[in-house]
Symmetry: C2
Subunit: 443 residues, 2 copies
């Protein structure tokens, strides 16, 4: 839908046409169309959305748009919206709204829903409990397929996902039945006969990364969440798991580039916030790079005698840094995908050592030949090639060990990625380089 046409229709008060347009559009697309409007038009347009779509459109809006709408809604509008909003979307809304609006919302919500929301808000950030919804279909094991289908017909309309149904005994989860089974099995079969009892579940306090791992390992559509006593309290649905997966990858990538991760998009983050997210690591890394500088100044006499030595510093530092971050990145990703574990430490080190031997042989040869051709100085070629071999081996070992050590001490391995490794490897490469050079040239 073209934004210009839409705004013109709104301005011309052609509300019938606007309503018709909104009726055939998808909730996600309506949300992104509305995000381009000015505040007044936004509110006007939102009120024209068909009632059964409004909550869905609202759930797909950005926090700032939601806050704008909530602040102008009448009590009645707010009540209607909150009644239609899923539990997990309501919680998301509350987590990001300014305090005065939160109070308004809690006042307008049904008391039982309010209690549940307060409980979910108390789960640790990024825990399974904080991303779950409490709306799911529960069945009894003595029901037949036909009874279960009739039960879903009555209660299922407001449940976020009905494709996995949960068989409860009291509040204990004893089995799972898929909608596929209900739709394809004989009507008279009893639930107890067809339910799956080998159940994958998480605890409310489990990390959301654990949730994502189970989803992608077992190709689930929903995952039950149990409390400390093993009672069922909610489910995580696959759309939320996918969002978490995307957020976690974005977070890892940011950390690997020495940026404090942020949940906002690039453009939603202000210049000042961007600077704040980037400065701390830059400062730390800048000061540690000064250590490398201090080491270099100890070899002043060496490069005063042979000034050409200085010109190889960038090549050695860059190659070392690149080799180190290749290893650390692959290992970090392997850890994230649950393919590499701390117990593999020695296996990884041995593998990286052998890779380093091949890589450094090729690079040292290429560089040695280049120097021989350009400077006709076999001694220099040998010094640089040997330094390269030493640097690459050290770099690959540091690159693979640090992320695994981070896991061991419960740090995010992504933090050990390129920038830190580069700074560490720099120091090592300078020591190796001048160590070899001063010895070979008797400086």
């Amino acid at each position: 839908m073209d934004k210009e046409i839409f705004t013109n229709l709104l301005l011309a008060k052609e509300f019938k046409a606007v309503r018709s347009i909104l009726r055939v559009m998808n909730a996600v697309d309506i949300a992104s169309l509305l995000s381009q409007l000015h505040d007044r038009e936004l509110v006007q347009a939102f009120r024209l959305i068909p009632k059964d779509q409004a909550a869905d459109v609202f759930a797909n809006m950005s926090n700032s748009m939601q806050a704008k709408l909530v602040s102008v809604f009448t009590e009645n509008e707010l009540k209607e919206l909150l009644d239609d909003l899923y539990m997990d979307d309501t919680v998301d809304l509350l987590e990001d709204l300014p305090a005065n609006l939160v109070t308004r919302i809690l006042e307008n919500i049904q008391p039982d829903k309010r209690n549940m929301i307060n409980q979910i808000l108390n789960y640790p950030e990024d825990s399974a409990g904080s991303i779950m919804t409490t709306e799911y279909v529960s069945l009894k094991k003595t029901m037949t397929v036909a009874e279960a289908m009739a039960h879903i017909k009555v209660t299922g309309i407001h449940k976020e996902t009905i494709y996995t149904c949960y068989v409860l005994e009291g509040r204990k989860l004893i089995g799972i039945v898929s909608a596929k089974d209900l739709m394809t099995m004989d009507d008279n079969m009893e639930i107890s006969q067809l339910m799956e009892t080998e159940i994958k579940s998480v605890n409310t306090h489990d990390d959301q990364e654990q949730v994502v791992r189970l989803f992608s390992k077992y190709d689930l559509l929903a995952l039950p969440v149990l409390d400390m006593d093993g009672c069922m309290v909610g489910i995580v649905t696959i759309d939320d798991a996918m969002d978490v997966m995307e957020d976690e990858a974005t977070e890892d990538i940011a950390i690997m580039a020495a940026v404090s991760p942020s949940e906002k998009t690039y453009f939603d983050t202000s210049v000042f916030e961007h600077a704040k997210n980037r400065i701390p690591w830059l400062l730390v890394l800048m000061l540690s790079a000064s250590v490398t500088g201090a080491i270099i100044s100890r070899y002043e006499e060496a490069f005063q005698a042979i000034p050409i030595l200085v010109s190889f510093i960038p090549m050695l530092m860059d190659t070392g840094g690149n080799c180190g971050s290749q290893s650390s990145t692959l290992i970090t990703r392997g850890i994230a995908l649950d393919e590499v574990h701390f117990s593999d430490l020695f296996r990884v080190m041995f593998k990286e050592f052998r890779i380093a031997l091949i890589v450094s042989a090729v690079l040292a040869l290429a560089n040695g030949l280049r120097i021989l051709l350009m400077y006709d100085n076999p001694g220099l070629a040998l010094v640089i090639s040997l330094s390269l071999v030493g640097t690459i081996i050290i770099a690959k070992l540091i690159g693979c060990v640090l992320p695994l050590l981070a896991v061991k001490v419960k740090l995010d391995p992504a933090i050990m990625a390129s920038p830190i490794i580069t700074t560490l490897v720099d120091t090592c490469s300078i020591i190796i380089y001048f160590g070899i050079a001063t010895r070979m040239f008797n400086l």
Copy 2:
């Protein structure tokens, strides 16, 4: 399930017990248990899996395990397995098997399935067509809900996902009905009344990244795939979309670290392959770092006069590289998530410029003070601080422009990440540094 106990039961020929154990286990877990067995036990154990689980377990195995099994299967076993295997899993299997086994499989497959497989194998790698399955539930618009449910009961058992049903007219897709609607709507309602006609779909040749984007934007469970004539040929299911999402993130992360991406896990990749994936970029970057070296050697007289200048090279290079890769990484991720586009070029540049001003002011101040305290040399402090400001501004601009330019010329923006940026920024920082130093100190 403990591997030791399981192998002992197998060796003791306690097949009844093994069968019982396999019956209560999940297909994914059986596959990972079997992956720890030796070849002979693997085949033996696979034959003990309940028939209705065998294909599912097989689909969850690694390619090397699948190849082992296929090579020892009798014709009959192979036929049975292929009958139960979903179309997309069969295609995955064929894509990775050695040629002689592929022939055996194609001989044992039903002719109509074979034709479809050949067609799917012909779609470009990483296209929607190559990851789709041709099994889906199709309905007619004149059916009632009750008729649709009866239709699914008969045909749905072998369909990979039945939660989204497709309403076809001829071979054209005219509407979508969710299983949720079927389960909750009145039995006598006609499909045409409840079907959704605003349909999100992809073309067989669309890139799989586009598929993933639609899944996460619209929270879909399945996405229809249309051919060039707009006829429906298959669907992509959410479990496959999640796999693609994970693979794409892994690929981007590898490319950002200057490693040629590989679809295998860290340990499945041999030492030699690892070296092969890493050497090319290292060579390119090493040679381009030599350019920086060559530039340094032009300033030999400068650092012979003031040797301390050399010791600030690592700090300037590292800070420049880190600043550049911060920007390039955030922009690259923004592009991947469809939040930043080439048309935003100037907006991004202006934003990065302002960020660079704040960041460089803080870093230059911190570093200037440090130098003043350590060396008591205001001139040196000024030179370094000014160089830092220049380097950071250039680094941030290069870091944000290159990924966007890459998109424009249809290159993967991830390729422009840290290593390339670092090398480019190095050269700039050296030129800025010695340019300022020679001028200020009249060298």
